[in-house]
Amino acid sequence: MAKAEPNPSDEQEVMKGTSAVAKGVMAADPDVVSAYPITPQTGVVEKLSELVADGKLDSEFIKVDSEFNAASTCIGASAAGARAFSATSSQGLKLMSEPLFTAAGMRLPIVMAVANRSLSAPLSIWADHTDAFAERDGGMLQFHAEDVQEAIDHVLMGFRVAEQVNLPVLSNFDGFILTHVQEPANIPTEAEVNEFLPPRDPEYTLDPSDPKTMGAYARPEHWTEARYEIQAAMMESKDVWAKTVEEFKEVFGRDYTEYNGMLDTYHGDADYLLVALGSIAGTIRGVIDEYREQGVDVGLVRPRVHRPFPTEEIRDALGDAEAVGVLTKEMSPGYESALAGEIKGTLYHAEYQPPIKSFVVGMAGRDVTAEGIGAMIEETMEASAPMTFDEQESWPQLREELLETGGDQ
């Protein structure tokens, strides 16, 4: 997909990322919004509260006591048959972790916007993906937006796919970098969204005229099957997502259909490929342009969807690369970064396994510069297998002089 899009049209507005996402949510017209503040998400629920206050959004707006109960009220509302939305970040997402896992098990299609931010300690408000990855195994679909437009569109597509496969969605967009940026974006109108997103029609609800028992416990003879259904729904969601991006393109004209909506690439057939999630991909594009001008055949593969994991698509996209560099904003203490591990696992039974270097960068908002990305491209080009475990992953931004342990990176 080309980097440069046409000049902005008259319909675009320059708006703060959080406000733009809130306006997208408004177009989806949820019945219930639960709101609790946390930096850098707060702008989303503030804007939604403003829209409710001005009579532009007709949602029940619950000013909850915690993220824990933001998720819990969404669960009650969703079980009653409502379309429910909330937004959070970092510690707030951790606090939601327990109810969110049950929302997946109870198959409730709640959509959450997650302004990605590091997890304590030490306390930090800045962006990385450790919060999203900490919820990786809960049964929530996870998308990562590169810019404000995608952050809006992923929420809308999130409702569409969630309500078909009955799973919750975490729609990730990087804290500050996307939440606090002002840039042009198309704000979908309610009329457009109505064409794209039909009203929710759940199979079971808390309706006294047709009583059901929800949230029963399962014994060992039934639990595996109940939980396997999440896995099945996740796998089914790939097809639903592929259709959803097509439908979205028809209604809105924006094209997310590459690799069935799972991956977005930039010079995806290059010899050397970088892999990255979210907003850092934007900066990477510019560096790729510079290197290509110098004759280096380098490109980018950006997973738009992290759960379900784009397994076949990753095999297709990376399968004949000379080498791969994974730039990731998360870590798994005691092992390597989760994203790198997942990509390697995906390629294990592929026909060809390129050497893969992973780089832990941009943690807690550390600015990733073009120069830094260039160095990682060069390191990737030198990668060759076999590698020791220590050689697999590096922390190029680590300030070793600050380490008491001395470090060995």
């Binding site: 109870m106 009955n166 199979e203 079971y204 929800m214 399962a218 259904e229």
Partner: protein, 97 residues
């Protein structure tokens, strides 16, 4: 029904493991009982205290009669009914199975 039978061998898990209402009646908790209530129908004044205080909905009016009896499919033999009976019409006896 024996507790070892699987009444759900043809079960299909619903989306979200949603259950139908009123379905626990399939579980006959009477098998838990060691003592069973017996009623002296002459002493019973039909006040219904046994019914009021039965946690298992097992003390009920007997059809066509003016006294109460016990649904032994569900009675767990707790003995609350015998305690609350104002005329001591209920006795708990050791059950021979």
């Amino acid at each position: 029904m024996s507790q070892t039978d699987d009444p759900y061998k043809n079960l299909t898990i619903t989306t979200g493991a949603v259950a139908e209402p009123n379905t626990s009646r399939t579980n006959k908790t009477g098998s838990w009982r060691q003592f069973k209530p017996v009623i002296d129908v002459d002493a019973c004044i039909g006040c219904g205290q046994c019914d009021t205080y039965c946690p298992d909905q097992a003390a009920k009016p007997v059809e066509g009669e003016d006294f109460y009896g016990f649904d032994l499919d569900y009675c767990k033999g707790c003995g609350i009914c015998a305690e609350v009976c104002p005329t001591d019409a209920i006795e708990m006896i050791r059950e021979e199975k």
